[in-house]
């Protein structure tokens, strides 16, 4: 669906290069995570991909066609949910959705149904200026779905949401994926990335340092060990290989009540720190 080859970018007037030849692609029905700390080039990449920034070098293609060759019809295929809320505060949520729906030719989804899907049905008539940040973020999210796009750009979709609503949004994202929607997810929330993404790219100072499935990354960069803690608070680690035949492991299990037992694969945060020496946030 979306491909980037040797994507480079330098802001006009700046001497520093922001993106150094990024290569990645997003397949149909895939959730592709783009992870990196602030200033790594996530936003710049996204703005290039939804054509708000011009002047890039390299190639960026959507459905096999260069982004430069797409006209406004490009935006019928994609939906964008920005990191910051973008609505008219003096209009109600329903009016905001009706306003943006009027930009699309043909039928769009029922705004009330969309609002209900994120728990905003009772506040549909309320002015957005009276909304909390979480409500605005939910409204942001459903606005991107108005025209049923086949490709979604989601920037920190669960930012500012309480756990219940974050779960609600994640469920909708997974439903969309099941229906074949491709999703480019930008986040620094490792739990979201782990739960949602088929593949992730780790971005650091304008370079992609690795791209893989979250599970593969965690395995590759974790320790093949299991960590056991008993009721006395004694912690022991055993190699995963040959664990069944490891007499030390079985003796430790039999020596008292086990409090916790964990395999020691890395978290995505650990992977990022290992590869860059820096934290994600």
């Amino acid at each position: 669906m979306l491909e980037a080859r040797h994507l480079r970018f330098q802001y006009p007037g700046s001497e520093e290069t922001t993106l150094f030849g990024l290569n990645f692609d997003v397949a149909q029905g895939e959730i592709f995570g783009f992870l990196g700390p602030s200033g790594s080039g996530k936003s710049t990449t996204q703005k290039i991909l939804y054509k708000l920034l011009r002047g890039y070098k390299g190639e960026a293609r959507f459905k096999g066609k260069d982004l430069d060759k797409w006209d406004e019809s490009f935006y019928r295929h994609i939906g964008v949910s920005f990191e910051l809320p973008n609505h008219y505060g003096k209009l109600s949520a329903l009016e905001n959705l009706e306003f943006f729906a009027s930009f699309y030719p043909g039928k769009t989804r029922d705004p009330l149904e969309l609002l209900a899907s994120v728990g905003l049905e009772n506040d549909a008539g309320k002015r957005v200026s009276e909304y909390s940040k979480g409500m605005k973020m939910r409204l942001n999210f459903v606005r991107a779905l108005l025209h049923d796009p086949e490709f979604l750009f989601l920037d920190e979709p669960t930012s500012g949401l309480d756990p219940n609503y974050a779960r609600m949004i994640k469920r909708i994202i997974l439903d969309l994926k099941r229906k074949g929607t491709s999703i480019f997810l930008t986040t620094h929330n490792m739990t979201d990335a782990d739960e949602l993404c088929d593949r992730v790219a780790l971005l650091h100072r304008g370079n992609i340092i690795t791209t893989d499935r979250p599970a593969s990354l965690k395995l590759r960069h974790g320790k093949r060990e299991v960590c056991v803690e008993n009721e006395e608070g004694i912690i022991r680690r055993f190699p995963l290989d040959g664990l069944g035949e490891n007499t030390g492991f079985t003796e430790f299990l039999n020596s008292g009540q086990v409090r916790t037992i964990h395999s020691e694969e890395a978290s995505l945060e650990d992977v990022f720190i290992q590869l860059t020496g820096e934290k994600l946030v």
């Binding site: 490009f74 920005f82 973008n86």
Partner: protein, 228 residues
Amino acid sequence: MKQSFLKLLRWDFLLLHRNNLVVLALAIATVYFGIFKLLEPLGDLRSMLLILVFNDPVVTGLMFAGVIMLFEKNQHTLQAIGVSPRPVWHFLLSKVISLSLLATFSALLMNLAAIGWRFNWFHFVAGVFFTSALFAMAGIYYGNKSRDFTGFLVSIMGLILISALPFLSYFGLIPGIYMLWLPQYAGMLLLKAAYFPVSIPELIYAYAYLLICLLYAWKQILKNLKLA
């Protein structure tokens, strides 16, 4: 296309209304309406009217457009519009037209209060509408570039001062020929033509120059508009 543009225009009027700008424009026009009614016994008000009517599209166009752009920036709505299939120029044109219609309506209200129906409608409407459109484009340009309202006010100071220059010629202090480069002078000539006789070459100049300036300003805002 025409239908959807009319819809956009309707949304813009709703936004103007919700931001209290329609009420404000009508309140200003009503105050002038009252003043002119009071001054009616003094006789011919056309000279004073021209100055006030000329200022109205300047204020409505420049200030209102600037404020609207600042609202759009603060609410990050430009980004959302930029990723929709609606060409951005539709959105800008709708803003320019809605503000110019509002300015034209309030200027007509003032005019009717002051001198009734005794004026050239065509030149009057063209003068107010084109001047307002030009200043709305300037407001969009500077509003889009400014970080906040103070920054916007600072950036338009020069423009407001220059807009007063045609009055020097109107009061006979400077020959009109020195003002020909100013689109504001062309706009004022059209208003003058609504009340007083103006020569054909002057009218041709006024219409042609205003249209050229409108096209130039339009190209500039399309070229320089920052959505993100």
